[in-house]
Amino acid sequence: MTRGRGAPAAPEIASDAAVSVAALEEVYRDCYDFESREVHIGGDVRRKARLCFIDGLVSGSDVAEQVIKPLTDPERFGAVTDAKSVIAMLLGGSVYVYTAKSRTKLGELAEDLLNGFCALIFDAERTAVTFEVKSQQRRSVEAPKEEKVVKGAKDAFVETMKVNTTLVRRKLRNAHLKIRQYKLGSRADTAAALIYIEGFTNEGIVAEAERRLSGIRTEGALTSSVIEENIVDNPRSPFPQVISTERTDKFCMNLLEGRVGILVDGLPLGFLAPGTFSQFMKVPEDHSGHFIVASALTLLRYFSVALTLLAPAFYVAVAMYHQEMIPTRLMQSMIEAKQQVPFPTAAEVIMMLLAFELLQEAGIRLPSPIGETVSIIGALIVGQSAVEASVVSPVVVVVIALAGIAGYTMPNQDMGSALRLCRFFLVLAAIGFGMFGVALGCALLLYHLSGLESFGVPYMTPFAGSEGRHLSRALLRHSMTDKKDREPELKTGDGGEAGL
C-alpha cells in the first residue's frame, strides 16, 4: 500500500488530537468534503475524540449508526475511562463495523480516509482507529452494453473494483484465485487488481504482468488506454494486444484458459493478457450455442476480417487495373453506372470510406436514439442520394457498405478500428499498385502482426508460433464433450489439457 497523496510521510499522530486533525486539515486544505467533528465517548463530555472522514466517500448513516451511536452509548463505553481501553474495545468489535484498523502514522490515516474509512483520533494515545464505512453509492450491476449477450450471463463489470472482484470470485469459487492489489497513478492513486489462478496460470506470465503493472508511470489510471498502452509489448501497433471486456463470464473463461486478468477501480472493464489475434475473433456465445453453429460463426468472422480489410482495396485494384477479372455483364453495368460519376474510382472509394467513418463517429458521439438515427439516415439517405446524384457508383456504395458491415461483426471494437485503419492503407496501396500493392500491403500487415507478441506469446498463435498445432482451436469450437487443449503458448500448470 502506498501512502496518501499529499500527506506528510513521516509524521506520526500527535498526542494532541487537535494537532493531528489540524495536520489532516492541512493535507486536505481546500477540500470542502473533508469533515471532522468531536465525539463524546460513552456520552461523557470530558472524554473526547475527533472523528474525521471525507463526505461522500463514506456513508453518513453508516457512520452515525455503526460508529457514533455505539461509541456514545454510556452503557457500552460509560465505564471505560482510559483511551487505550477504548481503542482496544473498538478494535475488538464494540462498534458495528467489520473492518477496523489501528493507525499511528498520519499518512496511513490520510490514505484510509480516501479509501472510504472514517478515522477516530484520540488524545494522548498517538493512535487512531479507522473504520471502513464506504458509501454504497455505486452503479448497480447491469447487463453489458457494448458486448451484447444473447445467451449467457448478463452481469457486466461496474466502476467499483470491489464489486468486480466479487463478481469474479462468485464465478470462480477457488481459493487459488489470487487477487493482488496495486496502486496506479502518481496523483490519482487508482486501485488495480491482478487476478490469476495460482498454480495454474503460467508463473512467467504472472510475473511479467506484475512487472508491467508495477512499472506503469502515470498520473492517474482513469482510462483504459493508460493500462493498455503501458502494459502491451508494442504500444505503437494499432492492434489490441490485451483483451478488454465488460463481460464477467468472458473474463472468467479467459482466467480459466490460463490468462491473467486486470481490474482497475473506476473502469467498468476487465483486461486480459496475453491477447492473441484468434482470441479477438471469439465471443462467449460461442460456448453457449451449439458447437457446429459456433464453428461456422467463427469462420464467418474470419471471412469478415478478410472482407472488411480487402473489399475496398480489391475493388479499387480491379476497377482501376484489372478489369479483366470482372464478369462481362457486371462490367457492362459498372461501366454504365460509372459514366454518370464525375470522380475517378480512387476518389470515389476514399470519399465513401471517409463518409462511412464520419457517419460512424457521429453515431457513436451522439446520444443513443439520435446516434442510431443518424447512422441509419446516413446509410440509407446519404448513400441513396449520393448514387442518385451520381456522386458515387452504386457498386462503390455496395462495396463500402459490405466492408463496413463485415467490420461490425468483430467481437472486439478495438480490433475493428485497427482493421478499419488498415483498410485505408490497403486502399492506398491498391490505388498506387493495383493487386501488386494489395498483396504487398497484406504481406506487410501480416509481417507486422507476426512480429507482435503479447506477454511473450506470439500474437498470431496458433497460426504462427505454435508448431502448427491447435489450429482448429482458433477456427472451430470443439464439442464440450471432446477433450480440449488450451493454447500451448499459455503454458498452464496442467500442461495445457482441459478436463472434460
Partner: protein, 400 residues
C-alpha cells in the same frame, strides 16, 4: 526511423505513379472510358488486314462496331482500341474471334500469335472461320436492333455442340494442338439469309459450316458436315445430335447421346503397324417416330441400331479418309495409337508421318437403342392391332 523511411519510399513510389515511365500507373484505365469488346473480326484487305471490334460501353447501351484496316493485326488493333469516341476499347472480355476465309487461308498464325502474346486477351477466346464471305459482313448481318451480334456469336458454341455439327475450339486448344500435332481444327460458320421472324433481329442467321483444318500458318482444308460429325465422334468432342434413321416404313429420329471411341493399333509379328482399328459404341434414344413400328420388337430395334451404325460409320470413315488426303493427322491418330501402344509404336521403325498416309483404318460401330423415353408405344393412330396390356407384355417378352 528506418521503417518510416522505407514506408515513405514505397508510398512515394506509389504516388509518383503519375509520372509515366517509372510506374505501373500506365496500366490504369478509367472505368467510365472503357469500351468493352466482346467480338473481334479479322479479314484480309488491300492494306493487309481489316480488323473489327464489336462491343458496348454499358449493358443498356447499343452495341457499337468499329473497324480499321492496316498492315498487321498488332498495329491495326492498337489504333482501333484507342479510337472509339475517345474511349479505350479493352479486349479482355473478348469471347470470340471471327476470321474471314481469305485471311484464314493465308495468315491465321498471326491471329493466334496475337492472342497468345497479348496478355489482355483470354486464351479461351473461341476462334471461328467465316466461310463464303467476310467476318465483317457476317457480324454486320447478324446485328439487329435487339440482337447484338456478340450475343448471337456467343450462343453459337452451345448450339453447335448440341447439333453435333462441330465444336468451337478455343485459341488455347488450337495453339496446343498446333504445337503438339502440327495441325488443328477450327470451327467454321457462315451467314445464311433467312426470313426474318421478327423485325428487330439481323438480316443473317449464323449457321455452322463444318470445320477447317489448319497448319501452323493457315487453313488448308475444310470438312463438310458429315466429315465434321465423324471427326467429332472420333475426337470424343461429340455431345449430342438427332439423326433420322429409316426403319421399315417408319423413320426413327434418335438422339445420339453417348459415344465411346476406341482406337487401337494392330501390329504384325515383326512389329510393323498393319492397321488401325476404330471401334465406336454409340448409345441413342428414340426421340420421335414418323410412321408405325413396334419399338418393343427386338427386330425393329436391331434394324434401327444397324441403320444408325451405318450412318455413324460412314461419317467416321469420311473423316478418317480426309486426313491422309490433306496430309494432316487432324484426328491425332498418331497420338492416340502411341498412347495405346507406346513401345510398339516406337519400335515400328518408321516415323508416323511416313506410315500415316497409307495406313489402313477400319471402323466398326456398335449402336444401342437405350430407351424410348416415357412413351413405349407410339400413339395408336388408325388400324393398329389392339391387344390387352397382358398380351402386349407377353408378346414383348417373347420377342426379346
Amino acid at each position: 526511423m528506418k521503417k518510416a523511411a522505407l514506408l515513405a519510399l514505397a508510398l512515394s513510389l506509389a504516388l509518383t505513379g503519375c509520372s509515366p515511365g517509372l510506374t505501373i500507373f500506365s496500366n490504369y484505365r478509367h472505368l467510365e472510358m472503357i469500351e468493352l469488346v466482346r467480338t473481334v473480326t479479322v479479314d484480309s484487305s488491300e492494306d493487309g488486314v481489316l480488323v473489327g471490334i464489336y462491343g458496348t460501353a454499358g449493358e443498356e447501351q447499343e452495341a457499337r462496331m468499329y473497324e480499321k484496316s492496316g498492315p498487321s493485326i498488332g498495329v491495326t488493333m492498337n489504333e482501333l482500341t484507342l479510337r472509339p469516341l475517345g474511349r479505350e476499347a479493352i479486349l479482355s472480355h473478348t469471347e470470340n474471334m471471327l476470321i474471314g476465309e481469305d485471311l484464314a487461308k493465308t495468315r491465321l498464325d498471326e491471329v493466334l500469335d496475337y492472342v497468345e502474346r497479348f496478355s489482355e486477351m483470354r486464351l479461351d477466346t473461341g476462334l471461328l472461320i467465316v466461310r463464303d464471305g467476310t467476318a465483317r459482313d457476317l457480324v454486320f448481318g447478324l446485328a439487329g436492333e435487339e440482337t447484338p451480334a456478340s450475343d448471337v456469336v456467343a450462343g453459337l458454341d452451345q448450339n453447335i455442340a448440341r447439333l453435333g455439327r462441330g465444336y468451337v475450339f478455343s485459341c488455347r486448344e488450337i495453339a496446343a494442338s498446333l504445337a503438339q500435332n502440327g495441325c488443328a481444327l477450327v470451327q467454321c460458320v457462315r451467314g445464311e439469309e433467312e426470313e426474318k421472324l421478327f423485325e428487330k433481329r439481323g438480316d443473317l442467321n449464323l449457321a455452322p459450316a463444318g470445320m477447317a483444318v489448319m497448319r501452323p500458318d493457315a487453313a488448308v482444308g475444310f470438312l463438310d458436315d458429315r466429315e465434321t460429325l465423324g471427326t467429332m465422334l472420333l475426337l470424343g468432342r461429340f455431345r449430342s445430335c438427332n439423326l433420322d434413321i429409316p426403319v421399315d416404313d417408319a423413320v426413327f429420329t434418335v438422339s445420339v447421346d453417348k459415344i465411346k471411341p476406341d482406337i487401337e493399333p494392330v501390329f504384325s509379328e515383326d512389329g510393323r503397324l498393319l492397321r488401325a482399328e476404330i471401334r465406336l459404341r454409340a448409345e441413342a434414344n428414340l426421340v420421335c417416330m414418323d410412321g408405325l413400328a413396334d419399338v418393343r420388337s427386338r427386330d425393329v430395334r436391331r434394324q434401327a441400331e444397324e441403320a444408325l451404325s451405318q450412318t455413324l460409320r460412314s461419317a467416321c470413315e469420311a473423316a478418317v479418309r480426309r486426313g491422309p488426303a490433306l496430309g494432316l493427322d487432324f484426328l491425332d491418330l498418331g497420338g492416340i495409337l502411341t498412347r495405346r501402344a507406346p513401345l510398339a509404336m516406337e519400335d515400328m521403325g518408321r516415323p508416323w508421318e511416313e506410315v500415316f498416309p497409307t495406313l489402313p483404318v477400319t471402323v466398326e460401330v456398335e449402336s444401342v437403342l437405350m430407351r424410348t423415353y416415357d412413351i413405349i408405344d407410339p400413339p395408336e393412330i388408325g388400324g393398329r392391332e389392339e391387344g390387352t396390356p397382358w398380351e402386349k407384355l407377353t408378346d414383348s417378352l417373347r420377342d426379346s
